[in-house]
């Protein structure tokens, strides 16, 4: 991700949205506005990662397939930076009218336990719809001296501290590595990298023996025979990796998945929320959206506001506890 910090946002879609938005506002006279049905101008989806990242692609796919079901376009605007802080700030700055919503990922929610805590709280947001979920995985190079979790733990206990590479300090990946180390009793040192590319480069180059990453990043390297996945952290096995066990199956009480969905500033009216959620759900049912999922080995699962809010809160609590347990002791 580092390298992408220069990329701040998509100027053109934003400008376009503003123009179209201004135009349609002028068209609707104040008297009509009250009884005109939402939406009367384009809906902006803020995204905290740069264009082309998994959450960005998901949002753009939803926006594209929502066209049929919403009278106005949805426009994705990228607001990367500040571990999500830039996007959160911008979401909270806009009125609570449903015209600005955002993508939300487990990474952003975990970040609320970190430095973002000073400025933002989970209570300021409401969660509209869950779209995708994906576990994390632990991988080694195919010539690794250990090829299962059990062998890895044994190896780690006999040799100097096992180096595990992954994303930023206090990220979900970091917590996953610490939790596994804690439960299995193997001594590790975590090496934080910036983003998937750096992690995979470091693994393939043999600079770290083990990495934690996401299946999306690892798929093609597994297919090319360069990487072996030892374990994944979801509830159940992944369709593309039927031989890879979950941590739960191996007896570790660790389930961490990353999810991607949509959120808004708290306080949407029930009508507006209903329309947005319904649109997202219908977009997910489009054949085009399913094509995209299949191409990227992604699994979709729709959850509405209530269910998703509960899931996000549960995840937030779980990560908070995990952080207290493995980091702060």
């Amino acid at each position: 991700m580092t390298i992408m910090t220069h990329l701040r946002s998509m100027l053109f879609p934003a400008a376009l949205a503003a123009l179209v938005g201004a135009g349609s506002l002028m068209a609707a006279s104040p008297a009509e506005a009250a009884d005109t049905k939402f939406p009367v101008k384009p809906v902006t989806i803020l995204n905290s990662s740069p264009a082309g990242s998994p959450a960005d692609v998901m949002a753009r796919q939803i926006a594209q397939h929502a066209k049929k079901h919403l009278s106005q376009p949805m426009v994705v605007v990228n607001k990367p930076g500040g571990s999500g802080g830039v996007m959160f700030a911008s979401l909270l700055a806009d009125p609570t009218d449903g015209y600005t919503i955002s993508t939300v990922t487990s990474g952003l929610i975990t970040a609320l336990h970190g430095d973002l805590k000073k400025d933002f709280s989970i209570d300021q947001f409401e969660f509209l719809a869950h779209v995708q979920k994906e576990p994390f995985c632990i991988a080694v190079r195919s010539d690794s001296p250990f090829k299962t979790v059990k062998e890895m733990v044994e190896y780690a206990k006999k040799n100097p501290r096992l180096k595990i590479g992954g994303q930023a300090t206090f990220s979900a990946l970091h917590l996953l590595a610490l939790a596994l180390a804690d439960e299995s009793g193997m001594p590790i040192s975590y090496v934080p990298y910036r983003g998937g590319s750096e992690i995979i480069a470091s693994l393939l180059g043999g600079h770290v023996p083990v990495v934690v990453s996401s299946p999306t990043t690892m798929n093609q390297y597994v297919e090319a025979g360069k990487v072996i996945v030892l374990v994944e952290s979801g509830e159940k096995r992944l369709p593309q990796w039927k031989d890879v066990p979950t941590l739960k199956e191996l007896g570790y009480d660790i389930v961490i998945t990353q999810y991607r969905g949509f959120a808004a500033k708290k306080g949407l009216s029930a009508d507006v929320r209903g329309i947005l959620v319904d649109t997202i759900k219908k977009a997910m049912d489009e054949p085009g959206f399913k094509d995209y999922l299949a191409k990227n080995s992604q699994v979709a699962e729709f959850m509405g506001p209530q269910e998703f809010t509960a899931a996000v809160r549960a995840d937030y609590q779980y990560m908070g506890k995990l952080m207290d347990k493995v980091v702060k002791k």
């Binding site: 220069h6 990329l7 701040r8 082309g52 753009r60 930023a168 590319s197 750096e198 180059g205 600079h207």
Partner: protein, 496 residues
């Protein structure tokens, strides 16, 4: 492979692919020439529009844009002393003095030819060596990045101008402000007072401030005491002058290509190193900074050769070699393609189509560059009291566009005043840019190395690549000191 390459040229007969290359080149040219709008940003801005193009056309558009933007960065560097891209910073050192002498077309002509040369040679290198060189990208771990960063800093020797001490102060200041932001390793925040600083000081507003705005302030001062405009010559470099820069172009191309391949290296450092090496190996190093053509050719060759270099790990391993290449990954995935070890196997026609397109893109860039040279030289005939406010407005706009925040504008203005004060006291501003480009890499790779070695510094001295880089760094500094002493010695003798 030859068959593949020949079939790679086939798609170029389709009008939409040709249109993509020409369109990409035109947009890239403008993005490059606009200070504040980086190549990376240009690709990101155009990315959403390419979703609707076929995969090959989309990639041709974006890679042509990338190459042309790297060239375009030199235009304002030469004509206005404002680098259009970070990597064009060293081009100002000799490009702008040439403009001051009334010879902007010489510098612009050299720049486009060096960019074209580097583009073609590095693309051929990419086609021939992508697969074997992929492993080189992987040989760089944290200790190697640290050594590369230290070696990169030695380029300060060429930037420091008259005083070493002032150059080093610039470097240290740059390294210091680089620590602002969330610390990668411990996750704690450092010197963050507002949200916008979470990811550290952004480079673009800083570059605009130090170069563009300080230049504007300097010009405003000049305006008050009526400077007579010199005659501007439109003559391009002669064939002899091109040939005399041939070695500079080869060296620049090589340096750019190699640094392009290494995924985590700050890209702008390639043109700094190329400039430094050129000055070091030159027979007349004292003339550098006064407007020598080699000083334009080397960094310009380096920053264009990065484009192909960065595609080596991207196409073979799925690991981007530069920030712009990282955005290109987005272009692949949006199309349902995955750059990486399987791309050559699954989509050879796409890869070779892209190779052919890169070659064609360079030809388009050359044509556009040569056509534009006379035009850009004429920009200098615009009276400065009209040109200066336009430059100020355009750069501030680009600065805002980059981040959508007013904060970057204040940052640019702040660094503009700093740059002005520094220039007044004859402090070179380029070392700050060099340190900003390298600082994060140096710090984070140093600390990662120590995590890997569990605190032992031996890790830096037991690996061949780090040793070679350290030795070159030490030799580079020693050589400069030796030469400076020798010069001082002979000056003393002359005095006696």
């Amino acid at each position: 492979m030859i068959d593949h390459l020949i079939s790679g040229f086939m798609p170029l007969t389709h009008w939409n692919n040709i249109l993509a290359i020409v369109g990409g080149s035109v947009v890239g040219y403008l993005v490059g020439a606009l200070p504040g709008l980086s190549a990376t940003m240009g690709i990101a801005l155009c990315l959403p529009f390419t979703f609707y193009l076929p995969p090959l056309a989309s990639l041709l558009f974006l890679t042509s844009l990338y190459g042309a933007a790297e060239y375009g960065g030199s235009i304002t560097a030469v004509t206005l002393n404002i680098p259009g891209e970070t990597a064009a910073t060293p081009t100002t050192f000799d490009g702008y003095p040439l403009t001051k002498k009334g010879l902007p077309a010489k510098a612009l002509g050299m720049s486009i030819v060096a960019s074209f040369y580097a583009g073609i040679v590095s693309t051929i290198a990419l086609i021939l060596t992508a697969v074997p060189l992929a492993s080189m990208a992987l040989s760089f771990g944290p200790p190697e990045y640290f050594a590369l960063g230290i070696f990169g800093l030695t380029a300060v020797a060429a930037l420091a101008g008259k005083s070493w001490v002032k150059g080093c102060i610039g470097i240290l200041f740059g390294l210091l402000i680089n620590t602002i932001g969330i610390d990668d390793i411990s996750g704690t925040s450092r010197y963050i007072f507002i949200n916008a600083l979470y990811e550290g000081l952004p480079l673009i507003p800083l570059l605009i401030g130090l170069f563009a705005i300080s230049e504007v302030l300097m010009t405003m001062e000049e305006l008050s005491h009526k400077v007579v405009l010199k005659r501007i010559s439109g003559s391009l470099p002669t064939l002899k002058e091109y040939l005399s820069c041939h070695r500079a172009m080869i060296r620049g191309t090589l340096i750019g290509f190699v640094i392009g391949i290494i995924p985590g290296a700050g890209k702008a450092v390639a043109s700094f190193i190329a400039y430094n090496e050129e000055k070091r190996t030159s027979k007349h190093p004292e003339l550098f900074g006064t407007g020598v053509l080699e000083g334009v050719a080397a960094p310009e060759a380096a920053n264009n050769s990065i484009v192909s270099g960065a595609l080596v790990p991207l196409l073979t391993l799925g690991i981007p070699g530069s920030a712009a290449a990282a955005v290109l990954i987005g272009a692949f995935t949006i199309q349902g393609l995955q750059p990486g070890p399987l791309l050559f196997v699954k989509q050879p026609e796409l890869v070779y189509g892209l190779f052919a397109g890169l070659l064609a893109g360079n030809v388009v860039m050359l044509a556009m560059g040569l056509l534009g040279t006379q035009l850009w030289a004429k920009v200098l005939l615009v009276p400065k009291n009209i040109l200066t406010p336009i430059v100020l407005a355009v750069t501030l706009f680009a600065c805002y566009a980059e981040s959508n925040s007013l904060f970057s504008i204040w940052l640019a203005l702040g660094f503009g005043v700093l740059g002005y004060v520094m220039r007044k006291f004859e402090f070179p501003v380029a070392p700050i840019v060099l340190a900003m480009v390298l600082g994060r890499m140096i710090e984070s790779s140093f600390r990662k190395s120590l995590i890997l070695s569990e605190g032992s510094a031996a890790i830096f001295f037991e690996r061949p690549i780090t040793m070679v880089l350290f030795v070159i760094a030490v030799l580079s500094i020693a050589f400069q000191i030796y030469r400076a002493r020798k010069k001082a010695g002979s000056a003393d003798q002359a005095a006696q």
